[in-house]
């Protein structure tokens, strides 16, 4: 029994087509000159910032009892990124000759040749003077568990780009250690040697030095496309309102029990603690501001002709080149279809670039176009 089939074309509403075949849906959109998220081809999403008032030193001089030193809430499209900056203290191991004079004398006698030339023939790395923050990125996805690949990649790319952009110098993280003096009535007062008055260091200064380690906790809500630009902007805006507390040494080492959770059992470790941070006095974190710029991403979509032929109606504007440059990729269709991508991180007045990643066969003029767009975007970037 031969029953012949005839194929009737099925038609789906746009939302269903977007789920079934994102590429086709995007081609149809581009063919009639619009993007699924209704932005123009070269239009960036605007980004709104505020510090969210999560940090200890909130806007007014009210001190909040939290260990967060800087924060930022960023909203772009329907994606929200919340960044909180916290810190830790680490004792710097200073080279011997800086610690005390007799060590230098000892070195002079016994290891004459080694110490002197050992540290000046290795060229100082460009990055020796700079430090990076330690970001942990978490994308809210309704699953509890180990970080996903995207979260790890975002954290590492953030760490590396931040370090190589030379934004945070090592001495801006030095802990300003004050001296505690208790006068007769037992009134405690702490004297901080202000860096501007370089009065001679009255010899009492502690020989040991400490520096801060900065951590950034980045929480992303409702992800709708590549996240690096938003995470970069959020972390940098959080750092710009971060303040570092001053600290003083406490003679009777207060034993602090720090609860730590190792594989489910609740142990506590006892810490000998000498450094106590001041409750109120703090200094803003000094950043190399002209190195801080914005990050932009672009996707290049190749137009495949036959999906356009099927659209014979008049509003299919003829597409000049065979591929279209889209800015600020957002939405599933654009993310899946952009096989070729460009990601640019520029410095403040986008004269120099800090990071550039090109994936796929990108022509030089598409590259030139994206550089222009970053410069153009910078002028209108709402700080």
């Amino acid at each position: 029994m031969s029953e012949e089939f005839e194929f009737k074309p099925m038609s789906f509403p746009p939302a269903v087509v977007a789920r079934i075949s994102p590429e086709l849906s995007l081609q149809r959109h581009l063919a009639i000159g619009i993007r699924p998220n209704l932005r123009k081809f070269e239009e960036f999403r605007n980004i709104e910032f505020n510090d969210g008032g999560l940090s200890r030193y909130g806007s007014d001089d009210q001190i909040k009892n939290t260990s967060v030193l800087g924060s930022s809430v960023l909203k772009s499209g329907n994606t929200t990124v919340i960044t909180t900056i916290t810190a830790g203290i680490i004792e710097e191991d200073l080279p011997a000759h800086e610690i005390n004079d007799d060590a230098a004398a000892v070195n002079a006698v016994f290891a004459k040749d080694k110490t002197d030339d050992s540290n000046n023939d290795i060229p100082k790395s460009q990055l020796d003077e700079y430090e990076s923050i330690y970001p942990v990125v978490e994308v809210e996805r309704g699953r509890v568990g180990a970080p996903t690949d995207e979260e790890m990649i975002l954290s590492q790319k953030l760490y590396e780009t931040f370090l190589h952009s030379k934004i945070l110098s090592k001495d801006s993280l030095k802990v300003k250690v004050g001296l505690r003096s208790i006068d007769s009535q037992g009134k405690v007062d702490i004297y901080y040697k202000d860096d501007d008055d370089d009065s001679e260091d009255f010899g009492l200064g502690p020989k040991r030095s400490w520096k801060f380690v900065l951590y950034a906790k980045v929480k992303v809500f409702s992800r709708s496309g590549p996240l690096f630009d938003l995470v970069w902007a959020s972390v940098l805006s959080a750092l710009q309102n971060t303040k570092l507390p001053r600290a003083h040494i406490d003679e009777n080492a207060a034993d602090i029990k720090i609860p730590v959770k190792m594989r489910g059992n609740h142990g506590t470790i006892r810490e000998q603690y000498q450094i106590i941070c001041d409750a109120i006095s703090r200094d803003p974190l000094k950043l190399n501001n002209e190195a801080i710029g914005i990050s932009s991403n672009f996707g290049i979509i190749d137009i495949d002709e036959e999906s356009i032929q099927t659209l014979q109606n008049e509003d299919s504007m003829e597409i000049d080149s065979k591929s279209i440059l889209l800015t600020d990729i957002e939405g599933e269709e654009e993310e899946i279809s952009s096989k070729k991508t460009i990601s640019i991180v520029s410095d403040r007045d986008s004269k120099n670039l800090k990071s550039l990643t090109i994936i796929g066969n990108v022509s030089n003029d598409q590259l030139r176009k994206s550089f222009e767009l970053t410069k153009f975007r910078f002028k209108h970037f709402a700080k």
Binding site: D255, K257, G264, R270
Partner: protein, 264 residues
């Protein structure tokens, strides 16, 4: 505890009557008989074991340690282990947190004080070997017995040892009893408009909600919280039912305390 639909509705109807008819014929303020042993662990300062009539069994051992007051912020530490439950589930952590807040508040630090620098730290280890009903009441009864029979070594060196360097020294065999009042906790199951004390496994399975009320030297004390006694059907509770449950506990508490004190 799996109950078929008919068993469930039969029990529910039974417990709905006024006064509630319980499967084992108890009144709503009657406890099940318990069997207790005290001081049977010789290398701990205080110990007790209670076995319930439905087979639940709980052992509590209390050990004391001499610690420096300056470096320890809590003089009582509680560790709970219920067989059949991993110890980082919320069920265990909640039990532990209720017990810990209870004992930290109500074990007076003077009774543990030794010298200006040193004090006793109590380690209360609660081990529930098998539990068929909500274990909190059983655990507090057993620790009540254990705490009441804890004997701490008598100190012989001087009490004010601010300047003395060495540790305090103790008498070889003389002990003094840990004095003080200790809290216990009552579990009340609420079914429809009735409330019953000391629910057994079937009553818990059918109950709408459960209430934990703590009791300390003669009056109910916080924390008070509601608790789900079964995984299935939890229902809301009328406020006056909570108040009536508290009155029920007030009626019952004193004779429970007396019977516990009389246990040898």
């Amino acid at each position: 505890m799996i109950l078929s639909a008919t068993e469930r509705s039969y029990l529910y109807e039974l417990l709905q009557q006024t006064p509630p008819i319980r499967p084992d014929g108890r009144s709503n303020k009657q406890f099940r008989p318990i069997q207790s042993h005290i001081g049977f662990l010789d290398n701990s300062n205080g110990s007790a074991k209670i076995t319930l009539s439905d087979g639940s069994e709980c052992i509590v051992s209390i050990k004391a340690e001499v610690v420096e007051k300056s470096t320890t912020n809590e003089l009582v530490s509680v560790d709970v282990d219920v067989s059949g439950h991993r110890d980082d589930t919320s069920f265990i952590l909640n039990l532990q947190s209720s017990l810990k807040t209870l004992y930290l508040k109500h074990i007076s630090s003077e009774s543990l004080n030794l010298t200006t620098k040193f004090a006793y730290k109590l380690f209360i280890d609660v081990l529930v070997i098998s539990n068929y009903s909500y274990p909190l009441t059983l655990m507090t009864f057993t620790s009540y017995l254990a705490l009441n029979n804890t004997y701490l070594p008598k100190i012989t060196s001087s009490v004010d040892d601010k300047e003395i360097e060495e540790q305090p020294t103790f008498h070889d065999y003389e002990f003094n009893k840990l004095i003080g009042q200790f809290p216990i906790v009552f579990t009340v199951a609420i079914i429809g408009k009735n409330y019953i004390i000391d629910p057994n496994i079937e009553e818990m399975e059918v109950s709408d909600n459960g209430l934990i009320i703590s009791w300390f030297n003669g009056k109910p004390i916080s924390p008070i919280q509601n608790v789900k006694l079964n995984d299935g059907n939890l229902k809301s509770v009328k406020p006056q039912l909570i108040l009536q449950s508290i009155d029920l506990v007030k009626e019952v508490a004193n004779d429970v305390i007396n019977s516990l004190n009389s246990a040898e």
